[in-house]
């Protein structure tokens, strides 16, 4: 392809490249945070971008890679947000909260994962509208459950969180989440996820334990959304049930289908473009909220695979998978003496290729 693509490929082919880039990113984030290289408003937008990247990639696992249609991702975000906030505000001593913040995030993420389990079971049956209805219902149930829990503020919301989410933390969690998803996708369970998208019955008939695959995918997806919820709560420092309504879920859907299904690069692009664009459109006021649903409808009709559409940047593909062609060539060379004695009695009718 293009020269730029070649250079990128060559760069990421070197083992030392990734650690270098990631350290650089973290360092930059820390410097921006520490020395105020960007003003607080700009930093906040960057943090939203990061949080949205995690949300988008997590939903992409279920909707893009696995081909299901879950529509209530804000429910998991809510669980992560409320659980982590309760921990940092009510459980941790004020001074120790910044240090223990990651712990609170992980517990919130775990709680969201458990709720994700509830959605995994209905998905065992068949795919399609059924899951959409279940996830939509879950979104509404979680929202009204919080509204009815006076101990956590009910409809008035919950506050008192310190601003524990900082740009370096966001960058750290984005990197971790994408790394986790990448390693999941490019391994056995991930292959199962793709097989389910392509043809669930055929997958099952090749020995893919589709229930185990779905269980993993839903739990992983929900926990990451919960993590994003925790980060979000500690940026805005005030959460209400309305922060996690169906409009929020729709926004996550938009980012997935804008950036591209089945693609981590697409998730990054979708989240970034949407978040920044929405900031520019601030002058529209309340009308902004109409953008997400409209955009979703247009995207589903015009380009349901999104900008990246099942393609991936080389940087997001593990080295072993990127080198497939070379590895196959090596395998082909190594088998000049085919067929190996004992394995196959005769040469195949089409000969060794």
């Amino acid at each position: 392809m293009s020269r730029a693509a070649d250079l990128t490929t060559a760069f990421f082919a070197r083992p030392a490249s990734w650690p270098l880039v990631l350290t650089g990113l973290l360092l930059a984030a820390w410097l921006i945070h520490r020395y105020g290289w960007l003003n607080p408003y700009q930093q906040q937008i960057l943090m939203y971008v990061g949080i949205h990247i995690i949300l988008t990639a997590s939903l992409n696992l279920v909707n893009g890679y696995m081909g299901e249609f879950a529509v209530g991702h804000a429910a998991f975000m809510a669980v992560g947000a409320y659980v982590s906030s309760l921990i940092t505000v009510r459980l941790f001593p004020f001074q120790a909260a910044p240090l223990l913040f990651p712990l609170a995030l992980l517990v919130g993420s775990l709680a969201a994962g458990i709720v994700g389990l509830l959605v995994a079971f209905p998905s065992f049956r068949t795919r399609g509208d059924y899951l959409a209805i279940v996830t939509l219902a879950l979104n509404m149930i979680v929202k009204s459950a919080i509204e009815n829990l006076e101990v956590i503020g009910g409809p008035r919301g919950f506050l008192g969180m310190q601003r524990l989410t900082t740009l370096p933390w966001v960058v750290f969690w984005v990197i971790s989440s994408l790394w986790l998803l990448r390693n999941f996708i490019y391994a056995n369970l991930g292959r199962g996820v793709l097989a389910i998208r392509e043809d669930e019955v055929a997958a099952e008939l090749l020995g893919v334990d589709t229930r185990r695959v779905k269980l993993h995918a839903f739990i992983l997806s929900a926990s990451l959304a919960g993590l994003a919820g925790g980060l979000f709560a500690h940026v805005v420092q005030f959460i209400t049930p309305r922060s996690f309504d169906i409009v929020r879920s729709t926004e996550i859907l938009v980012m997935v289908y804008l950036g591209g299904i089945g693609s981590l690069a697409g998730s990054v692009i979708g989240a970034t473009v949407y978040t920044v664009a929405l900031e520019w459109l601030r002058f529209l006021g309340q009308w902004r909220m109409a953008i997400a649903p409209l955009l979703l409808v247009f995207l589903m009709i015009l380009r349901p695979t999104g900008i990246m559409g099942l393609r991936e940047f080389v940087a997001f593909i593990p080295r072993e998978e990127r080198n497939l062609r070379a590895r196959l060539e090596a395998l082909g060379r190594g088998r000049q003496g085919w067929p190996p004695a004992g394995e196959a009695g005769r040469v195949g009718p089409h000969g060794p290729a």
């Binding site: 056995n188 893919v208 009718p349």
Partner: protein, 257 residues
């Protein structure tokens, strides 16, 4: 010894008796055929064996153990693989990926391994890659390894489906009209491929086929199904002359070779 044994297997779809009290055996190491006119219930028999549908009656014994009630993935692990009448490849994935997925159940590494992508992970993945590529090579499909399966020529898609099924290392391979839509030369090559598979991998083959030529050339025993009932069993020659078989096929004018 029969590797697969159907004992009084039945399946109803509402008012339709798709398979009725079917009893037959598939002997180990042999090539057995299941034939019958359109809608006779042949594919349904495969769907019952592989757990896609549950029989409304009867038992299905594989290697002496009842398969009824097991989920399809568990049946595959016992050693039964199949292809489909209408090709069901993972069309958007590469030919290589199609075959790699067939290794799913045999992967032993756990979460620690795929999280870290360390040595145990890479070694097992390398073995899967090598085995998958070898299956592609054996079927003459190596050059398509990194092409989307849906972009392969029709005949190669059919063979890729067999390669993918073989990658699960079955003891019993169910082929549902593998020659459908092939020209005579392709059918000839396919017959050779099936014989080679059976000889090289000690796999028992149970084959659904419309084309009598294919059945005559390959199989020792043929079972004939009509309206879900077994109407004849025997060598291809016996079956071809069987009055009830002639009658069944006459109705649609597609008898003989």
């Amino acid at each position: 010894m029969a590797l697969l044994e159907l004992q009084g297997v039945s399946r109803r779809f509402g008012g339709l008796q798709a398979v009725a009290d079917l009893t037959l055996q598939v002997p180990e190491g042999e090539l057995t055929a299941l034939i019958g006119p359109n809608g006779a219930g042949k594919t349904t028999v495969f769907n019952l064996i592989t757990g896609v549908y549950r029989p409304t009656g009867g038992r299905i014994l594989f290697d002496g153990q009842d398969l009824v009630g097991l989920p399809p993935a568990a049946i595959v692990q016992r050693g039964i693989a199949r292809t489909f009448q209408s090709i069901r490849l993972f069309k958007g994935l590469t030919a290589l990926e199609n075959v790699r997925i067939a290794h799913f159940a045999r992967v032993t590494y756990g979460p620690g391994a795929w999280l870290s992508r360390g040595r145990p992970f890479r070694e097992e993945e390398e073995a899967i890659l090598a085995a998958s590529y070898q299956w592609l090579e054996r079927f003459g499909l190596a050059r398509y390894a990194l092409e989307p399966a849906g972009s392969l020529p029709y005949g190669d898609q059919r063979r890729l489906e067999i390669a993918r099924a073989m990658a699960t290392r079955p003891r019993l391979l169910l082929l549902d009209e593998p020659a459908a839509g092939m020209n005579p030369a392709e059918v000839e090559a396919l017959m050779e491929l099936i014989r080679w598979l059976q000889a090289s991998f000690q796999v028992t083959i149970f084959l659904i086929e419309h084309q009598m030529r294919m059945v005559m050339g390959l199989c020792q025993v043929v079972h004939v199904l009509d309206f879900g009932r077994l109407i004849a069993s025997g060598t291809p020659d016996e079956v071809r002359r069987h009055p009830r078989v002639l009658e069944a096929y006459l109705g649609q004018g597609a008898g003989g070779s």
